[in-house]
Amino acid sequence: MRFESILFENAARGSELVRKDAPDFFTDLNLDQIVAAIIESRRQEYDLESFFYSPLTDIDEIAFRHEVMKDLENRDVLDRVRAFAQTMRLVRQELGQSAKLYYRYQKQWWFLDAVDVYCKGVQALRDDLHSVDVHSRGFAGLRAYLDQYVASERFIALGQEITQIKSELSAIRYCILIRGNAVTVRHYESEPNYSIEVERTFEKFSQVEAKDYRVKFRETVDMNHVEANILESVARLHEDTFEKLERFWTEHQDFPDAVITRFDHEVQFYVSYLEFIDSLRQAGLPFCYPRVSRDSKETLSRDGFDLALARKLVVEKKPVVLNDFQLTGKERVFIVSGPNQGGKTTFARTFGQLHYLAALGLPVPGREARLFLFDRLFTHFEREEKVTDLRSKLEHDLIRLRNILREATPDSVVVLNESFGSTTLKDAIFLGRQIMNRILELDMLAVYVTFVTELASLSDKIVSMVSTVVPDNPAARTYRIIRRPSDGRAYAISIAEKYRLTYEALRERLAS
């Protein structure tokens, strides 16, 4: 099969997956922050968001990306791909320059140079791919494509044409005689350098420390009409060369090659993610290639973490707490409870993020991961109430949940966070039970963060996870979430102490 894309083995089907808008759950899972950080430095140049908005549906396509990514984890390969990206960046800049300029010989020169840079870059990439080890179907395909492209008669002729025109242009030397308002342009005839003669005569007065009277001129890319007139005259002196330049410009407007530009664009998906996780790896955080399955719902993560939170903590040079989770056999659902500010929401997000990143074909946080390839991912996090919203918050929540559960299939993943915080405990237990039963019925994977610990006992499909405190100091959080039945204790007082919001603390503070 002819190589077309580094992102999809089946390029035609892959292109259909690409979507323009962020999935609904992006904000809930803080994936918006993660993607923004990943593509930050490239936003001006490449449209990469859509790749991050488009999870894969095919296990083999995920494997295809893993292979490419593993090749890129080889520093040699990555460096060469980066160098090529740099080349293509320059090509784009120079083409932009060419388009912006007014005088034809300037436009044509920048065009010529852009094609020159492009040809050299493509040739270099082709050579590079032979000098490094690549094992992926993606890079092997690209290498074969480049071999063919670079060996083509057309490409070879293009290179020769450029070399010829450039060498002719750089050999040109001309003289300008300025006399009053008259400017005469002619060939250079080996007239002596007069500045040197003047300098030589006055050399005897020279001193070590001399003031520099040379004036710095502002250098611009474009030309004024006097320069343009001179250039036209130079072109008349060298008609042949400038005709070649003109012809080059008209004949090669169709460059560059579409497959190569597509590669340049798509490979940034991998490179940007690698750069992003590299800073976290340097801080000691592990990443791994997950085993992704469409059949088994046994999921596992060892030393996983919330990518968005980890990035923030690494910047602040604070430690990141790693957590494990595992569902085996019939287990499908995590009920997460325990003290507030203990990392419950982070745990839920991590679960969602890991599944999503796995579906993008990317390495995920953690030392080891086994994840399910979902058909749909749903989240329901508490959102701020809109004042214009006429429906009550509870009603609103229920409508959203109903919609989720209506659309969900047994292959979906759902992450629910404190869904019924705005009602009575009795109502919350009732509603939670209904929702949980529906989830269990669908046999889908879910995380349910709730204070309604009673839900954990509904089924052996449910696993209870609890956020923990340091035994001697209940106010101190470990941010570790462990598999354990909930004891239902309230830790609000310790949090109040931490924020100096206890009675004594408040009295003291309010007295001052």
Partner: protein, 511 residues
Amino acid sequence: MKVFLMFRDRDFNVQQELPAHAEDLTRDLGLDTLFTAMSGGDKFLYDVAQKAMLLSVADVGTILYRQHVLQDCLANAAVIQKIYEICVACLQNERRHFWGALSSSPGMILHRSVEVLHMFVENLRTLKKIAETEVAGFSSDGLRRFFAMIREELSDAYFAEVQEHLKRLRFKGGVLISAELGRGNKGINYTLRRPDDREVGWLASILASPIFNHKPAYTFHIAERDEAGFRALSELRDRGINLAANALARSNDHILSFLTALRTELAFYIGCRNLHLKLTERGYTSCFPTPIEPGERRHSFKGLYDASLALSMDRRVSGNDVDADGKELVIITGANHGGKSTFLRSVGLAQLMMQCGMFVPAQSFSAEVCSGVFTHFKREEDTGMRSGKFDEELSRMSDIVDKIKPGALLLFNESFASTNEREGSEIARQIVQALLEAKIRVFFVTHQFDFAHSMYDKNLPNALFLRAERRPDGARTFRMIIGEPLDTSYGEDLYRKIFVPAEGRMAQEVL
């Protein structure tokens, strides 16, 4: 082209900061009077005299080099004066060519430089003529080298070459620039070219026509009202002449600094001559001293007088003869108003004059060069509010210690006397002892008998004790004689004056 009249191999840097103790030296030794005499009222001469004298040289070779130049200058005063005036006129003229706007274009820089250079060249020509006609009258290394250099560097052929450039750099026939094509086909490497003269002369337009010239050339004109076009053209021209303008402007600076250096260095010798004239007018002799390499502990003179005092007093100032060879400590005691301070000043002054290459106010003078002259004089006026007198004295002493080096000459005048004698003496002893061990020569005028006599009792071979002479009748001669410190400086005289009739009785009471 280097002036090198102050040093054999380097310029005299008049911008150099004066040493921190220069202010004390000036005040304590009355240098201001000397500078004024040297300047003849000219501020520039004053400044140079001040710098030259306070920036002493400690190198015998340089001192002799200057002495010889000065001898030439004294013998050929008119020629030196003329050269000096040429420099002054040139420098004034240069200043008249104002720099225009803050940011000058190469075109403007070049134009000004050509004008100024033109003027410089005329004056250098005159200088060269003087060098040719007057060289025979000079014998010093410094001035002979200077004249030889002028003749060699500024040959007629060289002047012709310069004139040719100055003419060409007016670009009457246009500016010829070569260029190449850079990125974007923009012109690069703009280089000024010397055109074939046929191209720039009146024949140019005819020769450029296709009839005579088969070489292709294309000419276009900037329309009369095309201001942007003229700006662009002028920038192009500027790119071409940038380097030449730089070279010329630098040459201007260099000639300017050559003339400035010449003026500065001559100013010193002219100052010396002014002083020489004034002393001679008043009937004082002077001599060129013999500087001795450091470490030999030589210091002897005849008829040494205080030049400052000689210039400001109508009364005749007397001189002193001292042989302090081999001595490192000279303690001067004796009658008040007996000439001790004047003597001390004359020692310091002569040292400074010798070490700037000047003559000294003496019949003969030979001394070791020192690494620096320092003064620590009693300050009557310094009854500051900030610190007590003694405090102030010691603080000044501490400043000196920060700066002084081995081989220096330190003059004390009634130092450490603002406390009681016992303490003052003890401090003086300790300080002097330390200074001597550090190879610093000390002249110490003191009334402190305890200090002076304790030093005397040590029988130091390197110490000399002088006393202001007092005739048996009590009259002062203002001469220093060798003598043991006496236990009283003036009290006895006073005593006599008041108690002579009852001398016997009082003497008994004292006992």
